[in-house]
């Protein structure tokens, strides 16, 4: 093959920097400045891909993100899939292969499916694989029709980043119009964010041989870029695609080669005052038989390869057009020494200024391409007169076609701004802006340089649209969407079957989907629908443009969020001690990492938990209760407020005293349970469950700010001002005495559900007598700065009493033995206080509080309720999975409840459980049945308390 297609000179490549690369297992050489596509063309590689559905051989079609055919998977450290070869920047040692063929695109075994092509019409999958379910077939179909797989391992070095940015003006696109807009805004002192998807600025000027004020247009580009780089208020990024335009002028940019070499890609979230859309225009394909054969390329792409990369994609090029732009292509080809064998123009009358560009070339007017001879490469094109005369074959090895130009309105449309169809350029144009944005340059329909930059010289644009070639001599498939193998007949079939809306045609045929999102072909689908339905094209309308404009790696979207910071986590000052002492740590609500249990060497979970529980029941234990939500409330109306948000009465509390209570939402559901303490006349402290601290805070602030703004209640979150070590067990008082405190610990002076300020072990402390274990407990609250030291002192003072640290697994066992609630276990969206046997918490005295009316209303219906009960498996050694259903008699019937918790009770030496059971409170002593998939477990229904039912111990 060799570098036979590289021109002797020209192009924006560095011929002093050769680069070796490997494609589909063969070694090639390109130059710095090449893309993979330009380097492959330079090496004469024509078949570069196989198509998605039919495995037809395909070549390179475009030169940028519009490329529909050649998708590659990169190998090695920067492995990634489904990359258009036209956007892969060549680098030394690059390795890539085509995504949809095996073993190679030249000899593809999957190509055998071409023989069955007529069996895969539009909607084939919907029709064929609908019984018993698509999911049965999906994996094997995906494999057969597959695109690249996700890389199996993360990149070996570097990381992704996501960053916020703010700009007065964001300019998308650094072609002539974008550069001009950026210069104007930059000179006015505005903060400018200019992002362009290409490797260098210039846009279409990179690909064309144009002049501005009689100098090469790229000189103007270089000066503009230099001026922008001199402005501190301008951020200019290349290799950075603006891929999403979201609400309120938020745009997302994917920067693929940040300056920092340890950052793989960066995602920018830019909030802009004004957005300038200078995204240029995309050439559209012609639709004719054989338009997918390798060597059938977009005309402007052929021009780009010649001018920008110094590559002649063919030796003998024919062109097929319906507009003027292909004439400039032909002129550039001729100037580069390429033989132009014919220009087929579907128009009867070609503007003279176009013809003047190509005085010596054979132009066939009113003539279309009706077929391609050649399978793996173009050998000739069938030129057919529109009027029906005799067609003839014209030799060529590349057919360059241009169906006209579409302003690249993706971002414009993503912003919800409207489009209008313009007859003059036969394309959809930006119309009314929905956000603060404007389109400029080719994106606004100004398709020639003279309309964008003063002094710019360009061939005037003119077009007569041709949505598809429709002459009788045409044979074989004409593709509307090359990537998804959607042909004209597929669209016609969809219409015949009643999918008349263009959005439905898209889904049914898959036309316009995939990696390229139909950048070159969508308009032809719309045109085909219009022709078929006999309506004007604007009436068909466009499909919705959605982000992303081009594919984006998930890594860039996620940014830094991976590994340890994938989810937030919270520590207490005891976290390190826990880790040092062998705790098994995991998240236990509200992002807190907590110790689950503290196994001794060789001990399993159950053994460790039993040991910790025995310590609490028989001696003393201590746990870190710091994560409990804690709030200080101040103000004249706090008592009224607490009476409103708790179902029981709090206002009657005296300073130093506290009460357990339930918080309901107004629809009668249990929002949280916790305790409230009165500190003095106007100051209160409440604590919530760990998992609901934020929800309760939101609930309280919402009520106070939106419903009762007149109430004087000020709330301060003090969860992290008070950490606590909760010392619990029959010997807790002795440990407190050993720690040393100025608080009188006698049960008379300091009874259950009261609070005392003082010092403990020399630290200022607030000690609270609450109990979540059912044992005598002192919750010793200190400032976090003292917490680690307090913890050490507790362990030291408790050592003679055999104190053990207690993890959340044991806390669970201890609360189940006592029948204490856990939100999310016993309390879900169906139960109320009465079901839980806590009717006492529903105040009869208060005429109104949150949830009261709703609970009463629900209960007034008299429907059967599921009520909290204890369950004892008949076999004491029988464990029951939490969540297991209870059914009447254990039969295969609708459930009558579920097991909410089941633990090994160290005090009862058996498994005990809690359950919600229909009419459970009236069924104590009866037998109920847990029904599992392979077993029925009989259980005795009991009171939901298995230890110290009178609460003597916790009050002691």
């Amino acid at each position: 093959m060799g570098s036979s297609s590289r021109l002797a000179s020209g192009g924006r490549i560095n011929r002093d920097r050769p680069l070796r690369f490997r494609f589909n297992g063969k070694d090639y050489q390109g130059f710095e400045g090449d893309t993979l596509a330009s380097a492959l063309l330079a090496n004469g590689v024509r078949v570069t891909a196989r198509s998605f559905k039919y495995h037809r051989p395909r070549g390179i079609v475009g030169h940028g993100p519009e490329e529909p055919a050649t998708l590659v998977e990169l190998e090695g450290e920067d492995a990634s899939g489904n990359r258009p070869a036209t956007t892969v920047v060549l680098c030394e040692g690059l390795r890539a292969h085509s995504v949809n063929c095996w073993p190679s695109p030249d000899f593809d075994l999957g190509g055998i499916s071409q023989l069955f092509a007529r069996f895969i019409p539009a909607g084939f999958y919907y029709k064929t694989f609908k019984w018993p379910g698509w999911h049965l077939f999906e994996p094997s179909i995906r494999k057969a029709a597959g695109l690249a797989a996700a890389p199996a391992t993360p990149p070996a070095s570097g990381h992704f980043e996501a960053r916020h940015a703010h700009a007065d003006v964001l300019v998308a696109g650094a072609g002539p119009a974008g550069l001009k807009a950026a210069l104007e805004a930059g000179r006015a002192g505005k903060r400018v964010f200019l992002a362009d998807e290409g490797t260098e600025a210039g846009g279409s000027l990179l690909n064309r041989a144009l002049t501005i004020s009689a100098r090469p247009a790229m000189d103007w580009v270089a000066e503009a870029v230099a001026e922008l780089h001199g402005m501190k208020n301008v951020t200019h990024l290349q290799n950075a695609t603006v891929w999403a335009y979201r609400e309120h002028n938020l745009l997302i940019v994917n920067e693929r080669s940040p300056e920092q070499d340890n950052i793989l890609e960066r995602s920018w979230r830019v909030r802009a005052g004004e957005v300038v859309i200078a995204t240029g225009a995309t050439e559209r394909a012609m639709v004719f038989s054989g338009n997918d054969r390798p060597g059938v390329m977009l005309a402007a792409s052929v021009q780009a390869y010649v001018n920008r990369w110094g590559v002649a994609p063919g030796k003998r090029v024919a062109l097929f057009t319906n507009n003027n732009s292909a004439y400039a292509v032909a002129a550039d080809l001729a100037a580069a020494g390429v033989i132009v064998t014919a220009i087929l123009d579907s128009r009867k009358n070609v503007p003279p200024e176009a013809l003047e560009l190509v005085p010596d070339l054979p132009v066939h007017t009113a003539t279309v391409a009706a077929g391609i001879f050649g399978h793996k490469r173009v050998r000739a094109v069938l030129a057919a007169p529109v009027s029906g005369g005799t067609p003839k074959w014209i030799r060529c090895d590349v057919l360059a076609h241009s169906g006209g130009w579409n302003p690249t309105v993706h971002l414009w449309s993503q912003s919800r701004s409207s489009l209008r169809y313009d007859e003059g350029i036969a394309a959809f144009l930006p119309d009314r802006a929905a956000q603060t944005c404007r389109a400029v340059g080719a994106a606004a329909g100004d398709l020639t340089l003279d309309r964008i930059v003063d002094g710019g010289a360009d061939l005037p644009y003119a077009i007569e649209p041709l949505w598809r070639v429709d002459v009788p001599v045409q044979r074989g498939r004409a593709f509307l969407d090359i990537q998804n193998d959607v042909s004209v007949s597929d669209a016609q079939l969809a219409l015949r079957e009643g999918y008349s809306n263009v959005e439905h045609v898209k889904r049914y045929t898959t036309g316009g989907m995939g990696i390229d999102q139909g950048k070159t072909g969508n308009i032809n689908i719309i045109g085909t629908v219009a022709m078929q339905q006999g309506v004007p094209l604007p009436q068909v309308g466009t499909t919705t443009f959605r982000a992303p404009y081009t594919p984006v790696s998930f890594g860039a979207i996620g940014g830094l969020r991976e590994d340890s910071v994938l989810f937030p986590y919270r520590h207490t000052p005891v976290t390190q001690w826990n880790k040092d002492n062998g705790a098994v740590m995991y998240e236990a609500g509200a992002r807190w990492r907590r110790p689950g249990y503290f196994p001794n060497p060789g001990e399993n979970l159950q053994e460790a938990v039993n040991r910790e529980c025995r310590a609490v029941r028989e001696g003393v234990g201590v746990y870190d209760g710091s994560p409990l939500g804690t709030f200080e409330l101040k103000g004249r109306d706090v008592p009224k407020f607490l009476d409103f948000i708790y179902s029981n009465v709090m206002s009657s509390l005296q300073p130093g005293d506290g009460r357990y209570g339930l918080m309901l939402s107004d629809d009668g559901l249990i929002l949280d349970d916790g305790v409230a303490f009165r500190l003095d006349d106007h100051r209160w402290m409440i604590s919530t469950s760990t998992g609901h601290a934020d929800a309760v805070n939101q609930h309280m602030e919402k009520l106070l700010q939106t419903e009762f703004p007149g109430w004087q209640v000020m709330i301060t979150t003090v969860t992290s001002q008070w950490n606590n070590a909760t010392i619990c067990g029959p010997r807790a008082r002795e440990v407190m005495q050993a720690l040393g405190t100025d608080i009188d610990l006698s049960p008379q002076a300091f009874p259950f559900m009261s609070l005392r300020d003082g010092t403990v072990a020399g630290f200022p402390a607030r000690v609270v007598r609450v109990s979540f274990t059912g044992e005598l407990s002192y919750e010793v609250n200190v400032a976090p700065r003292n917490m680690a030291a307090l913890w050490d002192k507790v362990m030291e003072a408790g050592a003679p009493f055999g104190i053990l640290p207690v993890g959340s697994e044991s806390s669970h066992v201890l609360r189940v033995e006592k029948g204490f609630l856990s939100l999310g276990h016993e309390v879900d969206g169906t139960v109320d206080a009465y079901d839980l046997g806590m009717g006492w918490a529903m105040s009869k005295k208060k005429p109104d509080y949150l949830g009261k009316r709703s609970v009463m209303l629900r209960r007034a219906g008299g429907a059967t309720r599921r009520e909290l009960v204890g369950i004892l498996p008949k076999d004491p050694d029988q464990q029951i999975p939490e969540g297991a259903p209870l059914t009447p008699g254990g039969h295969k019937q609708a459930t009558e409840g579920l097991v909410t918790a089941c633990v090994w009770s160290v005090v009862n030496r058996r498994w005990v459980g809690l359950a919600l059971l229909e009419n459970g409170q009236a069924r104590h002593g009866e037998t109920a049945h847990v029904r599992l998939r392979d077993a029925v477990i009989p259980v005795t229904v009991t009171e939901p308390v298995f230890h110290d039912p009178d609460g003597t111990r916790l009050r002691s």
Partner: protein
């Protein structure tokens, strides 16, 4: 090349949460606190004590830790009038400093707020978001200072380390 930046996790400062009408707080605090800032999301200072206006009828007073007991004694949280609330919250926040030429870039990884000097002046202080968490953000010499809920301190340190490797 990484970012030209250093970050530092700070020790405790004395912090008091103040709620209520400005007049009532001024009336109670007297000369203990500097003049309260009159624009939201700005700060004032007097001596070693700073006051941040962080919310509707909501201020934070900040001073070196060695002033904590003195401030507590003068502000008397337990006995202040019913129409104001004063709560010691020194331990509730973990403070970080990000300084150096690239400090704005590193802050922009974490924070959606525009911290350009045109939008975030020298005396600005505000609650916003850092690494998805509620955070207090302000400028300091050579960069920025921010604080998150204390229990998230280790995570934020983790994040900053990742951002600046």
């Amino acid at each position: 090349m990484s970012y030209d930046v250093t970050f530092q996790r700070r020790g405790l400062d004395a912090l008091f949460d103040l709620k209520g009408r400005a007049g009532a707080i001024r009336g109670w605090a007297g000369d203990t606190l500097p003049q309260l800032p009159d624009r939201p999301n700005t700060r004032s200072s007097g001596g070693e004590v700073e006051v941040y206006y962080v919310g509707c009828d909501h201020w934070l007073a900040r001073a070196p830790l060695d002033q904590e007991e003195m401030l507590e004694a003068q502000l008397q949280p337990a006995t202040c009038p019913v129409e104001i609330s004063i709560v010691r919250v020194s331990d509730t926040l973990s403070f970080f400093r990000v300084t150096g030429p690239d400090a704005p870039e590193v802050m922009a990884i974490a924070c959606p707020l525009d911290l350009h000097e045109a939008a975030f002046a020298v005396d600005a202080v505000t609650y916003t978001e850092m690494f998805g968490l509620k955070a207090l953000v302000l400028r300091c010499t050579g960069g920025f200072e921010f604080a998150v809920e204390q229990s998230f301190g280790d995570m934020v340190e983790d994040y900053l380390t990742r951002a600046t490797v």
